[in-house]
């Protein structure tokens, strides 16, 4: 394996930042792939976790300025599970658990 001298000046932007910048630079651009109605259908998943875990999740999402749903989707994607692109987007504002905590 060749050793390489990195020339990168700054760390890579986060995925959320990449999407934000791309949206700001070219807001009218379409997605590269057509979205079908079937792929857009959503369903509920209910899981029971300890309150401490849920509080930690809520705190983390608040700290990141994102939703708990997106934090979970990102964790799944990181594990190599195929996550729909829409689930990785920041859509509804953070609310419910932890939203009124200071």
């Amino acid at each position: 394996m060749k050793g390489l001298k990195s020339t990168r000046q700054a760390p890579a932007a986060s995925p959320n930042e990449m999407l934000r910048i791309a949206g700001a630079a070219a807001p009218q651009q379409p997605s590269a792939i057509a979205r079908t109605n079937g792929a857009e259908k959503s369903a509920m998943l209910s899981v029971r976790l300890t309150e401490a875990t849920l509080d930690a999740l809520a705190d983390y999402a608040l700290q990141q300025g994102t939703t708990q749903r997106r934090v979970i989707a990102e964790a799944l994607a990181f594990r190599g599970i195929e996550v729909a692109g829409r689930d990785l987007e920041d859509r509804p504002p953070p609310r419910r658990r932890g939203s009124n905590r200071s």
């Binding site: 060749k2 890579a12 995925p15 990449m18 630079a25 994607a77 829409r86 990785l88």
Partner: protein, 228 residues
């Protein structure tokens, strides 16, 4: 780690060919390179999976912009060089790939439409760099050039104000054959590819190689499933 995005808002200027050449060249040197195919047609990943014959590199196909952003973020931590091939029209996945890039390479064939779209792509990269508040250099690279023709000379002159590479690819069948043979071209085409890589290194679009090669891995191309 470096991310090189190959983009153009026009189809057919040789983005995938350029990506194949660069990835192939780096892999043959033993560089830890990962290819990302952000084109929904999946030309690069299909080539890498079914036809490519050479030292290993991983190739992932993802055209959904949100999933692509996460994929780039993940593989950037695994590879020395990430090469992203994009679709030939203005689309969000290509812009995300520009946003993540350290540099953007814009292939251009001789033709009025190609010069116009190359200029638009240069402008888009500048817009992305502005939104990202960092420098994202771009270079146009001429492809399918017939140096003896007035058309090639005229197109080169029209593209004069654009940032261009000295290196370019001639109109050689060897590049088309690579698409079917899966092998790196030799002879004049091989020399042109080497000159392209050398110039990309000189201008900092690719990291300089340090000669501590131990071995080149045998072929193993990994791909992920196609994006919807």
């Amino acid at each position: 780690m470096m991310i090189l995005t190959i983009a153009s808002s026009k189809g057919g200027p040789g983005k995938t060919t350029m990506a194949e050449l660069i990835v192939c060249s780096l892999a043959s040197e033993g560089v830890n390179v990962i290819a990302l195919d952000a084109d929904p047609t999946g030309g690069l990943s299909r080539w890498a999976t079914r036809l490519y014959e050479g030292p290993t590199f991983a190739c992932h196909h993802e055209a959904d912009e949100a999933r692509l952003a996460h994929l780039i973020h993940r593989v950037a931590q695994e590879a020395d060089v990430v090469v992203v091939d994009t679709a030939g029209f203005g689309n969000r996945a290509a812009t995300v790939a520009m946003t993540a890039a350290d540099a953007v390479l814009i292939p251009m064939v001789p033709g009025e439409g190609d010069v116009t779209e190359a200029a638009r792509t240069v402008e888009l990269v500048a817009g992305v760099a502005s939104a990202a508040r960092r420098e994202i250099p771009s270079r146009v690279v001429l492809n399918r050039v017939r140096s003896s023709t007035a058309l090639s000379r005229h197109a080169a002159a029209e593209a004069g104000p654009l940032p261009k590479l000295e290196a370019g690819l001639s109109d050689l069948v060897a590049y088309g054959e690579m698409g079917f043979s899966g092998r790196m071209p030799t002879g004049k085409a091989g020399a042109e590819a080497a000159a392209l890589i050398a110039e990309l290194r000189t201008i900092g679009f690719l990291p300089a190689a340090v000669d501590n090669t131990t071995s080149v891995k045998t072929k193993y191309v990994k791909t992920t499933r196609l994006g919807r």
